[in-house]
């Protein structure tokens, strides 16, 4: 499976540090205890450059959950996986992977546990549906998609497709079409 190409990197612009684009005050842009290390989770992190679906704590959203949560709210914390795109590939981990070093949310890892608190182009959440679709959003406070242009977001979605996720669904599109 392909690594991120030069052209894609050019399209995506610069990588950012955690919270670099966040609206938080500078003194609050810190990564808290337990949020900056990756080594503890190396074995659980799925590199989408190798194959298609994560194995660690793999779970799929049901059709009912897709209708009720993904299409209406864009998220479903119980079954979400976190993704980040660094300068090589997409890294994925089940959000509900315990991280007891954290004081806040010790039942979950966060995006900086995927990057060792380093730089990334973007991050968000991904859901694997029983319908074979892979649902992707750009929701991350640390590497948030809020600053992305639509073109950059399409580049990311296309890269998801290029590494082997055939049926990628843009969650923002679903939210746009919400009745």
């Amino acid at each position: 499976m392909p690594a991120l190409s030069r052209k894609e990197k050019r399209m995506l612009g610069k990588m950012i540090l955690p919270f670099e684009e966040s609206a938080k005050a500078a003194r609050d842009k810190r990564v808290r205890i337990g949020e900056s290390h990756r080594d503890e989770f190396d074995k659980d992190i799925h590199d989408a450059i190798d194959n298609r679906k994560p194995r660690h704590r793999y779970v799929e959203v049901t059709r009912a959950e897709i209708e009720r949560y993904i299409k209406k709210t864009g998220r479903y914390k119980r079954k979400s996986f976190l993704w980040i795109l660094d300068d090589v590939s997409i890294k994925i981990i089940r959000e509900r992977t315990p991280n007891r070093r954290r004081t806040h949310d010790p039942d979950h890892v966060c995006h900086t546990n995927l990057t060792d608190s380093g730089k990334a182009f973007a991050g968000g959440e991904v859901f694997f549906g029983v319908d074979g679709n892979v649902y992707v959003n750009p929701f991350s406070d640390r590497y948030g998609g809020r600053r992305l242009t639509d073109e950059q977001w399409q580049t990311i979605l296309n890269y998801f497709r290029r590494v082997g996720y055939e049926n990628v669904v843009d969650i923002l599109r679903l939210l746009e079409n919400k009745n």
Partner: protein
């Protein structure tokens, strides 16, 4: 209506006193009176943070009035042997490290979680070496019932470890209390916005630690429904809203704005009143929230 709460303190570094050793006090549950004696009259060179925590709990009126009872144990095995239906705790402060221990702390903790319904604060001096044990799958089903805190930790949150444990215990008796936040004595009144003092962490997430502490001081050291609104009003934050589809979006979320087309602009306070603190926090953190 106030609840009656039992608190167990498990730590092998409670001061050793010759008289107590003679009376075999350390071989069983250490009574509240004996703990009081240790706190008031003995040196806690190794555990000043635990001493402070215990001192704060034991000197509270809830203890005098019988709403909180505290027992101490120098070893988890002693605690396990003394558990019974009548003597089961609501909160356990569980030291992770024991000298000359014959068994790892993890299995003990698991047994305690299985045998009680208590919330367990895993209270450790070596936070980083603990997690591999606690991240095992057998702990998953107890995930809601334990949390790791480093002794004396004060940099990670507006609460120090001990302040957090203290407010948690008091809140089980009554949700309205005077608690400590960042070293300040603060009157907390539960409201539709903040149900327990732990929810103050949402406010910290929005305002930041320094601003939150400043706001608390400027508002008579009170956290009430009225003061929460004042805190957020002072922040002057704005959000965009697609009222029909019920999406909150931050003004810097160019991608979400272009795709989800907000129709209105509202203040943080309006968002708080209409959608609550959790949704407001979510929107500010990721730039989007479905409300």
């Amino acid at each position: 209506m106030r609840n009656r709460i039992r608190v167990f303190i498990l730590d092998d570094r409670l001061p050793r006193v010759a008289e107590f050793v003679e009376r075999s006090i350390y071989n069983g549950p250490i009574s509240q009176n004996d703990l009081q004696h240790l706190v008031q009259h003995e040196r806690w060179a190794d555990e000043p943070n635990l001493q402070r925590l215990l001192s704060d709990i034991l000197s509270h009126d809830y203890v005098k009035d019988g709403f909180i009872t505290v027992s101490g144990y120098t070893n988890p095995e002693i605690c396990l042997n003394h558990l019974s239906k009548k003597h089961t705790p609501h909160v356990i402060v569980y030291d992770w490290e024991y000298e000359n221990q014959t068994r790892e702390s993890g299995p003990w903790l698991l047994e305690i979680l299985r045998m009680t319904k208590a919330f367990v604060f895993v209270y450790s001096g070596v936070r980083n070496s603990v997690p591999p044990s606690l991240n095992k799958r057998e702990f998953d089903k107890f995930a809601e019932r334990f949390q790791l805190f480093e002794k004396g930790e004060s940099s990670d949150s507006v609460f120090t470890s001990e302040e957090f444990i203290y407010q948690y215990i008091l809140s089980l008796v009554d949700r309205n209390n005077t608690i400590r936040v960042g070293g300040l004595e603060v009157r907390f009144e539960a409201s539709g916005y903040l149900k327990t003092p732990t929810d103050i962490l949402y406010l910290e997430s929005i305002l930041g630690r320094a601003e939150l502490l400043k706001q608390i001081q400027e508002n008579r050291n009170e956290i009430t429904e009225e003061s929460v609104e004042k805190f957020l009003a002072s922040f002057k934050g704005r959000l965009l809203l697609n009222r029909q589809k019920r999406f909150l979006i931050t003004p810097d979320s160019t991608l979400m704005i272009s795709r989800l087309k907000p129709t209105d602009e509202i203040s943080y306070v309006e968002a708080l009143k209409q959608f609550g603190l959790v949704k407001l926090t979510e929107a500010i953190e990721v730039g989007f929230a479905s409300v």
